[in-house]
Assembly symmetry: C2
Homo-oligomer: 476 residues x 2
């Protein structure tokens, strides 16, 4: 804790008389919009009380306004955007969910969209332009200034999800031969042309190559006479513009960076990435993994019914195929089921428990692969452990299910067969639940997308086969 000495005295004096600020600013004011607030705004919109609505909207933060637009119906959104556009500036548009943003921008004249894009930082502008459909994109591009257009076009050339798409072109670079004093004088003189926020100064050589960076907190505690060269951190992390955004996030996490320079193929500085871009990437990647595991390609909360149904149907179609595969395994034993109908009643239990146990192992493995916690060095150890967990829980649940099923159908044979099938299927679940993601990852197939369909096919097919097969052998 750093408190200057003369403040310390003040504090001592004031200790007895606790001051309470006039207007308490609560952090909870910035935690999002309450449903009541949304309701009040919609009622006011309904009543066409423009004056009151202006006051209500004035009270909202940028993120509140985005949340408002996202949570209301299409009609209300358009009514708000058309009648009260002055409240919804470029910053609000920039943070809207992509689907919602498109629905908003499509209704606007191209000039207005171009104006919004010109007002934004280069990374936000690129994000918006990149998400427009081609024709509208071209129309907007023609209305932008040559400088902005060229920067955007260059940005669009970088692959999606690359550092080049993420970076902003607004940064502060200084030469290594300056002093701290000269740097501060420059920052003071150039204050209005500097980016709104920055955390590090990028130190470059005359060839525009990144030499290092200086966190501002190092600059402010150095004497004016100190040379920039002596302050420069030699551990720089110039990020190639083509680097995948997930790697960028790993880099920021591993090295605890607030910002890092982005360079072109010749190592020349072309932009910077800041921690807030990285938070965005982390959110996006975490969301992607979660959704993919649930069989959803992307966040379709804001999509219309037909688009959503179409995109979901692909996954269901694959599952339909595997379900018929499992059904055909059952059909191998139709004669057995005809004789002992209890098998039909119990068989979903064996398959289902295998599916659940396998999903547990798979979830841990998929997450660990995403965070680089599983690699060749420890993959076999993880698979071995999961198989052992399958053996342990297989034995526990075999006994439990065997006893219940045996008593239910007054038949120790059925109890024994289901117990044996349960052990087999939980071992299968542990082994394949952990090994499928590892193998898919090594084949460069996204384990979050494809693991669960392979896994449930295995646990269904083997579950049915083991249970019905053992029953055919021992119970007939």
């Amino acid at each position: 804790m750093s408190i200057p000495p003369d403040l310390q005295e003040h504090i001592e004096e004031a200790k007895e008389s606790i001051l309470v600020p006039d207007e308490e600013i609560m952090a909870s004011d910035f935690l999002g919009l309450s449903d009541d607030a949304i309701r009040e705004i919609l009622e006011t919109l309904q009543n066409e009380d423009a004056e009151k609505l202006d006051i209500l909207l004035d009270d909202l933060t940028t993120s509140d306004k985005a949340e408002l637009l996202e949570k209301v119906t299409l009609e209300n959104r358009q009514a708000l955007m058309l009648g009260f556009s002055q409240h919804f500036n470029a910053d609000v548009i920039a943070i809207l969910q992509e689907e919602i943003r498109s629905s908003v921008l499509e209704k606007m004249p191209a000039e207005q969209v171009a104006k919004i894009i010109s007002d934004l930082d280069s990374d936000d502008a690129l994000d918006i332009v990149g998400s427009l459909d081609e024709e509208f994109q071209q129309e907007i591009m023609r209305k932008l200034s040559a400088k902005i257009r060229m920067a955007l076009q260059e940005g669009l050339n970088f692959p999606e999800d690359s550092a080049g798409r993420l970076m902003q072109r607004e940064f502060v670079a200084i030469p290594q031969f300056w002093t701290v004093g000269k740097t501060i004088d420059y920052l003071r003189a150039a204050k209005d042309t500097l980016p709104d926020d920055f955390y590090d100064l990028i130190v470059i050589d005359p060839g525009h190559h990144v030499v290092g960076e200086i966190p501002l907190n190092k600059l402010v505690r150095a004497q004016r006479s100190v040379k920039i060269d002596d302050l420069t951190l030699d551990e720089v992390h110039p990020i190639p513009a083509t680097m995948d955004q997930e790697e960028v996030a790993t880099l920021f996490r591993n090295e605890n960076l607030a910002s890092a320079p982005v360079v072109d193929e010749d190592g020349r500085l072309i932009g910077i990435i800041t921690y807030d871009d990285v938070i965005f990437v982390i959110d996006e990647e975490a969301e992607e993994d979660l959704l993919k595991l649930g069989g959803v390609k992307e966040d379709d909360l804001y999509r219309n019914i037909v688009t959503t149904a179409t995109s979901r149907s692909r996954w269901l179609l694959i599952n339909l195929f595997t379900a018929f595969l499992a059904a055909s395994v059952i059909s191998l034993f139709d004669a057995t089921i005809e004789k002992i109908v209890a098998l039909a009643i119990l068989m979903p239990i064996v398959a289902g428990m295998g599916g659940n146990a396998g999903t547990q192992a798979m979830t841990v493995a998929v997450r660990a692969i995403a965070t680089n916690e599983i690699s060749g060095a420890n993959a076999w150890r993880v698979i071995g452990k999961e198989t052992a967990v399958g053996v342990l829980n297989g034995m526990v649940f075999a006994i439990l299910i065997g006893i219940i099923a045996g008593f239910w159908f007054h038949d120790a044979g059925i109890g024994t067969v289901i117990a044996a099938a349960m052990i087999i299927n939980l071992i299968v679940a542990g082994f394949f639940g952990s090994s499928i993601p590892v193998v898919l990852n090594r084949l460069n197939i996204d384990p979050a997308v494809a693991s669960s369909v392979f896994l449930t096919t295995m646990t269904d097919v083997i579950g049915f086969f083991a249970f019905l097969g053992l029953a055919s052998i021992f119970l007939l």
Copy 2:
């Protein structure tokens, strides 16, 4: 892009002669440890070549060293920690996964652990001490200096996952009556007692209440004579120490903060939270949601077999209960199945497709609730949409499955019954997949944990009941 004019000249001159730095520092050096590197280290350890191992370990970054310890076996980890402890300093220990960290710390003498804790920032120290078991914690506490012990004890009093646990006590606070010049002079004079990294100055009044904050980039571009009061951002976000860490993350995201002050119940400054703490929270919360949806309570990658099996068995036990519930629905129709064994073959398809479609809707809803994208204002709209998606895909898959099943068993009746059951179950899946998380959330039950068990019970029970019930009515 901000480049000073005299540098610009240099750049123009140098444009033709592209300089290539002597030693290229690649960003990929900071992206983690390769399996080959781990293998080489382990081989060197095996060969007891201490000299070479020292060189290899010297080359690793802090996060590489943590990754190394996490990916090797317990024996190798202990061999590294005992023989080469000088390479694994407090910073390495601080970022280890909790399970691994405990296994490492338990083997160390209490003095050494106390030394590590004294070397760390207050937030990392608190994180470690909080994760130790009570007895060892007390032993360590006794060996710490009174000042550190008191700070830790105060920190431990805050609830887990609260801002108070997350914050560090090292910050820079200045009084509002200072000028920029005086502030910079103070920072220069106090340079060695300031925290290693900071991004904002916290402005306080004599009562130690937070008045505002000044990002360093605003300070460095202001003239020396400017008053701190005039620079202070009035939109401060003092965070109560008891605020939940998830809310802290929302706040940082919504307001794009690099750091924010934490205050006690009287509004007095007691610490700060920085963006890197928030990235940690976001990772942790995303991981939690993903794991919970997969039926795993917490990351058990590094746990032993028995602990893992025990913790997983709870979820399997709940699923066993619901599986028997579904089985008892099937048993209602045992006479029907005895007559038409095709029903036993096809019934898992109906239940399984319902489960998959429901999981899709549920995953989107759980994620949207976690990111506050679903609330009372739009919940009914989301549920209505998901139900409509169920109707659409239900019709598509009903036709498909009806035709396949009809042809398979040469029985149009079976095709018609399974088609009808499929429509019913996909509508049920859409409705319950989206409404169960919403309802659980309103009842303050974590939707990520409990949704899937309720959902699959619904899609199993209704899937079996609809298919077998319709078959009993129309096919017998």
